[in-house]
Amino acid sequence: MSGWTQVCALDDLVPDRGAAALVGGEQVALFRLASGAVHAVDHRDPFTGANVLARGLVGSRGELATVASPLHKQVFSLATGQCLDDPAVRLRVWPVRVAGGQVEVAVAADEAKGVA
């Protein structure tokens, strides 16, 4: 389990708004919620293939924190990547942490998980 990559300062992220990041060749969508939680999921919208999810609207469905694709509005859980409108579709999720005011993402770790 190697490699936390420092991506940006926490202050670079606007609460309740996503931002895309290039991490190890991956396009990652980062979300800082008003609650303080930070999530990292695929930036690529699996329904259209366009790299847009960081530009979706965040919100909640029941207890789950969510993001909706800006193209066709499918809603995904930010915590698990699961699409709540289509059980067959799931975003990849990366470990993310805030250390010293910096947001760090571990791309390789999840990659390894994904391959295994």
Partner: protein, 858 residues
């Protein structure tokens, strides 16, 4: 494959249309081809609403139903093509010299206006009242006489029945003074009793229309030019007049049937059995030409029923025509008149309960069975509001005290929920209360619109809609369905309610609103709605503070996201007027940034393929060239489309471009429940297609006519007339109020057309608010719009001036100047477009497939 059978329909009126509609809906075109021959130049239109032609001005408004019916495969409408002969041996008809073969023939030739056998009916200025063309000629004649500058044009209407009163109303609307002459001792002798006729007479006379009953006409005199001059009566009296309208009834058009040797009734009408079949089994007769059970049925409702019967028979069914409800409810000269069931108390032993108030101009009568329990019929004059509830109860116990139904407003009549299932609710389309209930309980309909589509109730004259609504709501309630207008799971309020909450409470942030009036953290539905409400109420720039997190990406970056995640950019071009320098500037920006360009439907230019991080640079160039945001991304004013107008056009009567520019600059940036489009045409030719807009303005000699509630899109709508001949100042005030009232009260994503339908009282109610300040909110609406105009600033210029806001336009937070590496384009017709899946594989395939593990950072 066997050849299709051929159906020929002679006549293209309301009933013919219903037949074709019923056949197409039931898939009959699998086995049949349908040819319809009509002598009028128009497709079937609503003859019942003929008089409204005066206010509509446009005959197309009267056309019935979806015109796509006439483009169905195997359906063909021949207009201006009267059938001249039927050959039953050869089974053909002849129209305009061509023969057409049939396997089945339907006669739906309707009626013609009867002309009384008096001298002079061929004088110029003597009209009948049957078709749009008749009405148009009448109007032209009256207008011409008025143009001669003499005292008010006088008109005589012969016939005091339904048509005659319609015609008198038409003359009245045209500004002519009308006298109605009726042979019988009262007006509407077929529908109302003597006392009802008297009440009607008093009301009609009160409206300035003269009435002469028990009067026979003897001759129409003409002047030297052959024009109508005077009407002579049998009693020796006479009346000077400039126009005569003959409305003495209609006769079945059975001449084709007679010539073809079909059996006809001695008083007219093609004899048919209860399957609507004539003496030739391959020939049917429906509508006003058919004589079934010894009588002709001169209303559209029974005609529709016959059409359904024949449709069923042609498809092998066994339907029969069992007679029909001849009830009528009309608004003549603004007076309600209704007659239903046994209106004349012809049933043996029947009792009449009467309420009359000559001062208020109201007469109501119920006819009851001899035990005073069962409703048999009635007459309502002056106030027919009880009609929709009473008519379905004919033949059923009234329940309670019958006088409760007759007393004036304020006395609540028994509930409609108690209607028996077999009671007919919509007599035009023969829909029972049971079918309406069933559409809700079994058919899954959850609102009136659904029930209308499913049962056709209320789709003809619409008079039963209040009753249908009551039934639908009662049924929904019974089923435990809560009729909810909640916005989403986070807010139990509708958009309009939320708007009021924000306005009254002064809340300026989403967090506070959701904490106090909602639950959770919002979603892609409620966040943009709240953003729009906050913007409408003037709470700052769309990207200010927390507002930024509420905006859909389009509003967030002020551009329109396209399928590949890039954006399109639309600078505002008010009224579609642009200088050559402006065009060159836009073109140069497109060339420099490699953008695909296309002209939009709103008379401006769309630049496609801009990456998010390019938007500020693109807009800096556009703003420098004098452009501003076009709000193509917003639920807000889009464009005001215009024709070139009086300035250049030889037909134009007003400066449509100037007005369009002024309106676009006034309403630019106004946030609303859905997009808003306007149009301004410089003359009645309507080149700006303004009636396809939410607000359409059409120039007249005297000023501007304003239409509201039009749109294109999935369900196209023509805008309806809101007000006529307004000065520019009045026009702007009217549009201000209309738009602001819409912004405040419409639901999310509700265009003006559906909003108008949902407002209680519809267009009339909105007109009352906007023109007559019926709610006392006009000053408030005016102030709100003035505030909008004052506060307007170009969002893009403001954004470019604020480094904090510009940070949001980066592709990657950790690589702001790197573009999305996955974008790929190919050339087509000299410009770029997004590559398809297959093209991408060829173009950049290898380069973009991530090599797993190869780039693990150290």
């Amino acid at each position: 494959m066997t050849q299709k059978k051929r159906l020929v329909v002679v006549g293209a009126g309301m009933v013919a249309r219903r037949l074709v509609e019923a056949l197409v809906e039931r898939g009959a075109t699998r086995d049949w081809t349908i040819e319809v021959f009509g002598e009028e130049s128009r497709p079937p239109y609503d003859r019942v609403a003929l008089t409204s032609f005066f206010t509509l001005r446009d005959a197309d408004e009267l056309l019935l139903g979806d015109q796509a019916l006439w483009r169905e495969p195997d359906v063909r409408l021949y207009r201006s093509s009267p059938v001249s002969a039927i050959d039953r041996e050869a089974r053909t008809v002849t129209a305009r010299g061509t023969t057409h073969a049939y396997d089945a023939l339907v006669l739906a030739t309707g009626s013609y206006a009867a002309v009384p056998p008096i001298e002079g009916t061929d004088a110029e200025g003597c009209f009948v009242y049957r078709t749009v063309d008749d009405v148009a000629e009448l109007r032209a004649w009256v207008t011409e006489r008025q143009g001669e500058g003499r005292p008010p044009v006088r008109g005589v209407v012969v016939g005091g029945g339904l048509l005659g009163l319609e015609a008198a109303g038409a003359l009245d609307q045209l500004g002519a003074h009308a006298t109605v002459v009726e042979f019988a001792d009262r007006l509407m002798p077929v529908q109302v009793d003597r006392a009802g006729g008297e009440a009607l007479r008093r009301i009609v006379e009160g409206l300035g229309v003269d009435v002469r009953t028990s009067t026979a006409t003897s001759r129409i005199r003409r002047d030297r030019r052959g024009r109508v001059k005077q009407m002579d009566f049998a009693d020796g009296d006479s009346l000077a007049t400039d126009v005569v309208v003959l409305a003495t009834g209609v006769r079945p058009r059975d001449e084709l049937a007679r010539a073809a040797g079909l059996d006809v009734h001695e008083r007219g009408g093609v004899l048919a059995d209860d399957a609507c079949r004539t003496s030739d089994p391959d020939v049917y007769a429906i509508g006003e030409v058919a004589c079934i059970a010894g009588r002709v049925w001169g209303l559209v409702g029974p005609g529709y029923t016959m059409a359904e019967v024949v449709a069923d028979r042609l498809l092998g069914g066994e339907a029969t025509f069992e007679g029909a409800d001849m009830s009528t409810k009309l608004k003549l000269l603004g007076v309600d008149v209704a007659s239903f069931g046994d209106a004349f108390a012809a049933t043996a032993g029947s009792l009449e309960v009467v309420y009359a108030d000559p001062v208020a101009g109201v007469y109501k009568k119920l006819v009851l069975s001899d035990d005073a329990s069962t409703l048999l019929g009635g007459v309502l004059v002056g106030d027919a509001s009880a009609y929709t509830t009473l008519r379905p109860l004919v033949g059923n116990p009234l329940g309670g005290d019958p006088t409760a139904w007759l007393l004036p407003d304020g006395v609540e009549p028994p509930s409609a929920g108690a209607l028996p299932d077999e009671a007919t609710v919509c007599s035009c389309n023969n829909v029972t209360a049971g079918s309406v209930r069933c559409a809700v309980s079994d058919g899954g309909c959850t609102d009136v619109a659904g029930v209308k589509a499913c049962t056709r109730a209320g789709t003809s004259c619409g008079s039963c809609l209040p009753l249908v609504k009551t039934l639908v709501n009662a049924e929904l309630e019974a089923a435990g369905v809560e009729v909810s207008d909640a916005l989403c799971e986070h807010f139990a309020l509708s958009r309009a309610q939320l708007f009021d909450v924000v306005r009254v409470s002064g809340i300026t942030t989403f967090s506070e609103l959701v904490d106090r009036h909602g639950t959770g953290r919002g979603c892609d539905i409620c966040r943009p709605v709240v953003a729009s409400i906050l913007a409408s109420l003037g709470h700052g720039h769309v990207l200010d503070g927390e507002n930024a997190a509420l905006q859909d990406t389009n509003d967030h970056v002020m551009a329109n996201m396209q399928k590949d995640g890039t954006y399109s950019v639309v600078p505002r071009i008010p009224g579609g007027e642009v200088t050559p320098e402006g065009l060159i500037a836009i073109g140069q920006v497109a060339a420099d940034f490699g953008l695909y360009t296309k002209i939009t439907g709103g008379q401006r230019i769309d630049l496609f393929g801009a990456r998010i991080e390019q938007l500020p640079a693109i807009w800096q160039r556009l703003v420098d060239a004098g452009f501003e945001s076009g709000h193509a991304y917003g639920k807000s004013l889009r464009t005001v489309k215009s024709c070139v107008g009086q300035t250049w056009c030889r037909f134009g009567v007003q400066d449509s471009v100037g007005l369009a520019v002024a309106l676009e600059l006034r309403y630019r940036g106004l946030r609303s429940p859905h997009k808003i489009k306007l149009g301004v045409s410089g003359c009645a030719r309507e080149c700006a297609e303004a009636r396809g807009k939410d607000v359409g303005v059409i120039a007249t000699d005297q000023g501007w006519n304003v239409y509201v509630g039009g749109n294109g899109g999935f369900t196209p709508r023509h805008a309806q007339l809101l007000a006529e001949d307004l000065s520019t100042e009045e026009l702007v005030r009217t549009i201000d109020r209309f738009l602001m009232y819409y912004v405040r009260t419409a639901d999310r994503l509700q265009r003006t057309a559906t909003w108008l339908e949902s407002v209680e009282g519809g267009l009339d109610a909105v007109r009352a608010v906007v023109m007559d300040d019926s709610l006392g909110i006009a000053a408030d609406l005016d102030a709100a719009m003035a505030g909008h105009v004052d506060r307007y600033e170009d969002e893009w210029a403001a954004t470019l001036a604020d480094p904090e806001k510009l940070r949001r336009f980066s592709a990657f937070v950790n690589a702001p100047d790197v573009g999305d590496p996955d974008l790929a384009y190919v050339q087509e017709r000299g410009q770029k477009r997004p590559a398809t899946e297959q093209e991408r594989a060829v173009l950049i395939g290898g380069a973009t497939i991530p090599v797993r593990g190869a780039e693990v950072p150290a």
